[in-house]
């Protein structure tokens, strides 16, 4: 027997109390489930409507903001400079004047020295012995630049060009003479020397602006390219990407390095402009920024014209960068550059000019920005696909490309293979970010189907949501993705009949929960009256139904408890507690040890 004297109805009351709690919880849960599921996607929308929603493409808006945070640190770098071209090939010795052949042969032999210091020393001695020989200057300048000795390279190249006027003669002639070609040794040498000088100036804080030499080679290459390309078909893969063979070399390259290309020259000119403070004369501007009238102008063409007009009104602020944009526009007007470095730098130039500080709404209309973003995505895709950068630039390129991927809305599944190759160029700590970006792209594409697609009979419900692989980044990304999905779903709902639109709005609000609503959804709701809006928001809110369910559960519990209390009272009235205690005491007397 228990030592404690307890009321005879205690067990009955506790059981009854537990039953009231259970019934109240069940009724609250049942009410909540019924109300929420009735207004959810599964039951509020027809199968046809859900199929349509499942097929929607979700643009990266909010998710792009979240993804940009992933690459906010460590994924943005400098413009990528195209390196110097390869050294001349031995065959060049036969192409120069006979008087120069011995020294050229010696220079080529010196250039083949495996030790860079010895190579440079021997080339420097030969350069001093044959001043004004641009071929030896190119050999020495290239060797110095390859060794990272940019100031010396700049000095040697500048001195070499100062000692001769041959380069100016050739550049001038290239604009008009039909006899010159890119394969000419003299032309090739001049191009390589000027390019090397540009690289040397871009790769250090030189006192001299780089664009003089860079513009020179472009000025030379442009007419030569046009002549070379006469009769070819625009749009071919190699169109506009002209390889400029090193002196004496075939166009495939030389001395273990790929040939210099016209893209390298454009790339460095663009980089030079973006870094500098170039200011042209009115004549220069008129010539550079003049564009023929087009029936179907590209987005970059429109952006350039708008920015030129704005710059003209603003006393040509950021003129150098405008020249860079002009050059990018020229390159892209031909076709997407078949060069990862130039594509990446072009994206940076576009980002510079579409930044809201430099591109107010009257210049960058929503339509223009949409078109420019499309072009931007193409350039990023091109950069991933080509990824033709030198070994030294692979890390920087991979980080830059990953950063740009985060702010793009391109279909990442198309570059998954390229991304896996680029992934290896990243340090281990940054590989995860690229993986997450690719996963996020796939998740974004799969999200509408996961949310809306009606389940086929017998089809197992996918248990893992598409964004689950994002790990610790999943929650924030998912919230942003819901906003993006809600935006396209709201656009879809705007086209539906009123009854279906209302059901869709409730369902959208329900799956959105406390997540930020997109402007499209708010706009659509604003078309309704205040009370309708209020009713819509309340019926869509799980918190509202939770509160109501708790209240209902509490009321049910109180009612059941009320009944319980009265039944208990009714039972207790008919019990003599005296007799209960009497029996208890009698029990103690029978078994004194318990008391």
């Amino acid at each position: 027997m228990s030592r404690n004297l307890r009321s005879p109805d205690r067990v009955w009351t506790i059981s009854g109390f537990a039953a009231t709690v259970l019934l109240a919880v069940l009724s609250a849960w049942g009410f909540y489930s019924c109300q929420v599921s009735k207004r959810g996607i599964d039951r509020a929308l027809s199968a046809g409507a859900r199929e349509e929603l499942a097929a929607l493409a979700v643009p990266a808006r909010k998710t792009a903001e979240v993804e940009r945070e992933w690459v906010a640190e460590g994924f943005a770098g400098e413009y990528l400079v195209a390196p110097v071209g390869p050294l001349p090939c031995p065959a060049v010795a036969n192409a120069v004047a006979p008087s120069d052949q011995p020294v050229v042969r010696e220079a080529l032999a010196a250039g083949a020295q495996p030790d860079p210091d010895v190579r440079i020393e021997q080339l420097a001695a030969l350069s001093d012995a044959a001043p004004g020989n641009l071929l030896i200057v190119q050999l020495l300048g290239t060797a110095l630049a390859d060794s990272g000795r940019y100031p010396e390279a700049e000095r040697v190249l500048t001195q070499g060009l100062d000692r001769t006027v041959e380069d100016e003669t050739i550049i001038r002639a290239a604009r008009v003479s039909a006899d010159l070609d890119l394969d000419d040794v003299a032309v090739s040498t001049v191009i390589h020397v000027h390019h090397a000088l540009g690289v040397a100036r871009l790769s250090q804080s030189s006192a001299e602006p780089p664009w003089v030499s860079l513009k020179n080679v472009i000025g030379c290459v442009k007419p030569l390219s046009r002549r070379r390309l006469l009769g070819t078909t625009r749009g071919q893969p190699a169109w506009s990407r002209l390889l400029i063979a090193a002196p004496g070399c075939s166009s495939t390259g030389g001395a273990g390095k790929p040939s210099l290309s016209s893209y390298d020259l454009f790339n460095n000119l663009v980089v030079g402009y973006m870094r500098g403070t170039f200011a042209g004369t009115d004549r220069d501007r008129d010539r550079e920024f003049a564009r023929p009238q087009k029936n179907y102008p590209g987005p970059l063409h429109k952006l350039l014209l708008a920015q030129v007009a704005r710059a003209r009104a603003n006393n040509w602020q950021n003129e150098a960068q405008l020249w860079a944009l002009s050059n990018v526009e020229q390159v892209i007007d031909w076709r997407l550059p078949d060069d990862a470095r130039l594509a990446l730098n072009a994206v940076k130039v576009i980002d510079y000019w579409t930044n809201s500080e430099r591109c107010p709404a009257d210049v960058c209309t929503a339509e223009l920005l949409t078109d420019v973003r499309g072009l931007r995505d193409e350039l990023i895709e091109q950069a991933f696909r080509r990824r033709n950068v030198s070994d030294e630039q692979k890390g920087a390129f991979a980080r830059e490309a990953t950063g740009m991927l985060a702010s793009s809305s391109l279909d990442r599944s198309r570059i998954a293979d390229s991304a896996s190759a680029i992934r290896e160029w990243l340090p281990a700590s940054e590989r995860r970010t690229l993986d997450d970006l690719i996963t996020a792209g796939a998740a974004r594409a799969a999200l509408p189907r996961w949310l809306f697609a009606p389940q086929e009979e017998g089809e197992a419900e996918p248990k893992v949501p598409p964004h689950a692989k994002l790990g610790s980044r999943a929650d924030r990304w998912h919230a942003a993705a819901m906003t993006d999905v809600a935006a396209v779903a709201a656009d879809w709902a705007a086209q539906r009949p009123p009854r279906e639109q209302r059901a869709a709005l409730v369902a959208i609000r329900q799956f959105l929960g406390a997540t930020e609503a997109p402007p499209q959804l708010i706009q659509l709701e604003q078309k309704r009256s205040f009370f309708d809006r209020l009713r819509l928001r309340l019926t869509a809110s799980k918190l509202f139904w939770t509160t109501l369910s708790i209240l209902l559960g509490a009321v049910v519990w109180l009612m059941l408890l009320w009944v319980l209390v009265h039944v208990r009272e009714w039972r207790l009235l008919r019990v003599s507690l005296y007799n209960v205690e009497h029996e208890y005491l009698a029990g103690i007397d029978r078994d004194p040890g318990t008391h």
Partner: protein, 375 residues
Amino acid sequence: MAQYQCESCNEPRDAPICPKCGADTKLRGDLPNASLEQLVERVSRNAAAAEAAPAQPPRGDDTRSRPSAIRPELVSVDSPRVAGADPVAPAAPAGIVGLDEFHALLDRGTKAVILCGASYSGKSEIASGYIRANSAYRGRAQNLTLRASLRSDYVLGATNPGEVWFQVIDNKRAFLDPSGEFYKWLSREERQRLGLTDDVTEANFQFVQRAVSALAGIIVVVDLTSTVDRRQQQPWRRQEEDLKFVLSALRWLRWDKEARPEAIGVSTNIAQRVSTLPRIDKRVLVLFSKADQLARLTNQTPLELARKRLPTLHGALMTHASRFRYDFCNTMVKTAQGDQAVDPCGVLLPMDWLLDDPLRWLPLQLPTSWIGGGR
């Protein structure tokens, strides 16, 4: 003014009842022209006769056989319940022993559990028995509040006339155990027997007035061993009548805030007003004490007993109380050597019902009379 003489105290009095001993006095004119020696002899004889007639057990608080404190009726109170009276000064509990201390407890937020019942019905023993039972069965110790009268073998003895005893239950509640004498002064029959022709006054309720405002529950103690005539249909009619008045008075005290016109007496006022007032909202526990001597009666449920044999009390409860229940109890047994304290029986669980029901907060509870406690 008429002059009276108390024969017990042998002192002149202004009232027909002696304020010192509570005994009946006689008009001065009734006294024979006796010598001083004769008078002394008469007083001595009366005293001897009183001692030789132990009509009550040794714990008696019979006001006529023992000296009493000041009678409640004689306490001068200007009650605000009377129209035209000074509303500023609430009645000072002058003369009621222990009331000041109890009121100080109420000031601390303590709620009162009022014990009602006739003298010798066992009110104090029930309060004390609850403390003992709680300690023995539940391991919850509580100090017994000291009281003036001597105790032996855990027998408390009667509460002195003119005294309220109280017993702290916990930090929130305390029993208020007034002397049975206070209830006796409210009894119509007792007043008639004492030859009091005037009505009760607000001062008669002073012992319980503040406690009713801070009410936690009411315990009505009925001594079924004390009968008018066992052969009658209602052998406990007198107790029933007294308790009926007490219940109506408590209801009136708790709810009626309206001033009484001076011309209307208190009893009339209660009778007229009480039906308009809400029922007593706190639980009322009716305990049939001394159940050890009621073997035949305890075979039935206390509700059945009350319905059949105490219809007046049952009717009063149905009328004045919202929630009530009946039960038997005993805290002592009668032996040849006198009363002896035993483990209380029928005290703890009924008190749990009264004090510790965890669901008492539930609103809109039906009156007991609606859920099987009616006729």
